[in-house]
């Protein structure tokens, strides 16, 4: 089992699926010969040629609109949006079209498009290369939303997403694109959508997180473990559909919950997690549910380390919640 990083894992998944399924095509800005600004599509143009890997004009609405049309025809497009911050010109195509095609046509038409996009802060990218827009998509019925935190999951989840029949927003944690390394089996395997993973067993407080934040939370857990705390960490992996059972099981066990994400707090995904718990596990709670999130400001440049949830902030929330 070779060790690789998330970019390599994504690249590997794309290659495996393109070899297996001739309907899979890759499109986006600079994804062709260049292989993408993060090099996630590196080598695909050479192997599969210009009919399956294409550079597009600079227009996200065109990328997604065209991908929808291709999917309606029977292809399996995997468009890349260069940064999640630039997905909004395609918002109408995603929210009003992609998400609703199956529903509005009474099941006649489906558009299984998998949109890959790097998201999140920590790369000194300021407001426009750092955003975490997952909540917009989770709130849109008809879309699945997947956020891997490590190479193993990235590969397995992307393969599942490409083989599914539904549109998927596949958000890649760019801060740990290269830093998160791990063993990844060669060849084919899948990680099912909708299943969370307990990445640290613990008895005292449940920490719910996903994507790059999993690493921040693990770091925080190391610190507080040294102080005698015992957090359980759940990597959600898929935000929609959520593995509600896993979440509730952990919270019912620990009676305490801390939720961590980078996106702004208000109406972020953490709000949904908290509401879910308040609906279904309220009587198990022994402390208020804490959210450690980005602040309700645009993503800043110079102060990004202050903005992003840090291991210190997460550690504090774990301590406060555990000792409430």
């Amino acid at each position: 089992m070779p060790v690789c990083n998330i970019i390599q894992a994504v690249n590997d998944a794309l290659r495996i699926e393109m070899r297996r399924d001739p309907r899979v095509v890759v499109l986006g800005e600079d994804v062709g010969k260049f292989g993408g600004v993060f090099r996630a599509t590196n080598g695909l143009f050479d192997e599969f040629g210009p009919d399956r890997v294409f550079d597009t004009p600079l227009a996200e609405a065109g990328i997604i609109g065209a991908a929808i049309g291709m999917a309606l025809y029977g292809l399996r497009p995997v468009p890349e949006i260069q940064f999640a911050d630039f997905i909004y010109p395609a918002f109408d195509q995603i929210v009003n079209e992609l998400a609703k095609f199956r529903y509005r046509s009474g099941g006649q038409y489906t558009a299984p498009v998998v949109i890959r996009t790097p998201y999140g802060g920590g790369i000194r990218g300021g407001h426009y290369h750092s955003q975490s827009p997952e909540a917009y998509f989770v709130h849109t019925p008809g879309l699945k939303v997947v956020v891997p935190s490590n190479p193993y999951d990235a590969k397995g989840l992307l393969l599942s997403a490409m083989r599914g029949e539904d549109p998927v927003i596949f958000m890649e944690p760019k801060r740990v694109y290269r830093a998160a390394r791990g063993e990844v089996p060669e060849g084919d395997y899948t990680v099912p959508l909708g299943s969370a993973k307990v990445v640290r067993q613990g008895a005292q407080v449940t920490v719910l997180c996903y994507g790059a934040m999993v690493h921040t939370v693990l770091e925080a857990a190391d610190r507080v473990a040294g102080e005698g705390f015992d957090p359980e960490i759940v990597d959600l992996r898929t935000l929609l559909p959520l593995d509600t059972e896993a979440v509730l099981a952990s919270v019912k066990k620990t009676g305490r919950a801390v939720i961590v994400h980078e996106a702004p707090k208000t109406c972020g995904y953490g709000a949904e997690l908290s509401a879910l718990i308040a609906e279904k596990a309220l009587l198990h709670l022994e402390a208020p549910i804490a959210r450690v999130t980005g602040f309700d400001t645009p993503f800043p440049y110079s102060l990004e380390n202050e903005y992003l949830p840090s291991p210190e902030r997460v550690a504090k929330a774990i301590r406060d919640t555990a000792t409430f």
């Binding site: 227009a59 309606l72 009003n96 009474g106 006649q108």
Partner: protein, 373 residues
């Protein structure tokens, strides 16, 4: 020293039939069998009659909403130039395109009523049809969104090494959207086999065409994308067929897209909710009556010796009966079953929706809480 804008293409509009339905001198008319000529006549009539009937129904409060296309019917039949394996992305104002491909009046009316037999399960407002079995793509209300989709589909056909073409319809107002530009531009770059039919009916709700662009007409816009644009008389079915045949041939031969501007006029309101007399001179539509596309086609048939009063009456009678039967049926079909609310969001119902479904099914069926519609 400014290389000032090249002269705009002149206002000339390609046409083949004069107002009396005669082929203009020197006009190269496309081949059209007698049967097809008559079938198209029946199709035109059907759209007109359906529109009339549905508007009446709407006024009677028996139908929630309707959009008619009086005066623009000829544009719908551009699809005559296609094969059944080609694809059509209509907007909401081309029911004739659906009928011509085989969409039944029964399906049509069931859709308007959103009943349990609507092929799209009562999910969309009236006039938003969807017929996968006819390669008619689900119609969307947000205007223009279908344009890049049609391009993607056309391009998918090309890279799949098939010679299918895609056609998309939209109004002149829709040419102002970002999606128009983005779609046209992708089409040019990829030389996709797609045909853009811009129905220039002069109005986008209350907004006149001169408020949509400062260019002379809409066909000129194709120049920005490196492929041909053509203005055709949108009330002249023969000219439309001719222009379409060329465009389809070009597309199929790998020569790329064409923008067709069909110059016509929206004689009715924007929809059943609209009263155009509030914002436009009521005489304006009258001027267009004499250019009625159906009358013109009728005269053309007369010229070809195909027309007879009896045939027309026969068509009218058949269509009238079909409409009546479809209505009678549709009105007695109930709404879709409650649980269908949760179908087709995803391929399979995920747990959170299953839970919502069970909750809803556990409740008594609501009486209409928002006043009757």
């Amino acid at each position: 020293m400014l290389a000032s804008a090249r002269p705009q293409p002149d206002d000339s509009v390609f046409s083949l039939l004069d107002d009396d339905g005669r082929v203009v001198p020197g006009g190269r008319a496309p081949a059209l069998s007698d049967a097809d000529a008559l079938r198209l006549f029946r199709g035109l009539l059907q759209v007109r009659l359906v529109d009339e009937r549905m508007m009446r129904l709407q006024r009677q409060g028996r139908l929630g909403f309707y959009m008619l296309s009086m005066g623009e019917e000829a544009t719908h039949f551009a699809v005559h130039a296609l094969r059944p394996t080609d694809w059509v992305f209509p907007s909401y104002r081309e029911p004739g395109a659906a009928f011509h491909r085989g969409y039944s009046l029964k399906d049509f009316v069931n859709q308007l009523f959103g009943n349990a037999e609507d092929p799209a399960k009562g999910r969309q407002m009236p006039v938003h049809h969807s017929a996968r079995w006819l390669n008619l793509v689900s119609i969307s209300s947000p205007v223009g969104t279908q344009i890049p989709q049609a391009v993607g589909m056309a391009w998918a056909a090309r890279i799949s090494k098939r010679d299918d073409v895609a056609v998309t319809y939209f109004g002149e107002g829709t040419s102002s959207t970002g999606e128009f530009h983005v779609g046209m531009n992708f089409a040019g770059v990829y030389k996709a086999p797609v045909i853009f039919i811009c129905r220039n009916n002069g109005w986008a709700i209350s907004t006149g065409k001169e408020r949509q662009t400062a260019s002379q007409g809409f066909a000129v816009k194709a120049q920005a994308y490196g492929f041909p644009g053509v203005r055709v008389d949108g009330n002249d079915l023969l000219a439309i067929l001719a222009v379409m045949e060329d465009a389809v041939a070009r597309a199929r031969a790998g020569e790329g897209p064409t923008l067709i501007e069909a110059v016509t006029y929206r004689r009715g309101g924007h929809s059943s909710s609209d009263d155009p007399n509030v914002y436009r001179d009521p005489n304006e539509p009258k001027e267009w009556e004499r250019r009625d596309p159906i009358e013109r086609w009728k005269k053309y048939l007369v010229g070809r010796g195909l027309y007879s009063e009896a045939v027309e009456q026969q068509y009218r009678k058949e269509i009238g009966e079909e409409i009546a039967a479809a209505l009678a049926h549709a009105e007695q079909v109930g709404p879709p079953a409650v649980e269908t609310l949760f179908h087709d969001v995803f391929a399979e119902i995920p747990p959170h929706l299953e839970e919502q479904k069970e909750y809803l099914l556990s409740l008594p069926r609501p009486t209409n809480p928002h006043g009757g519609h």
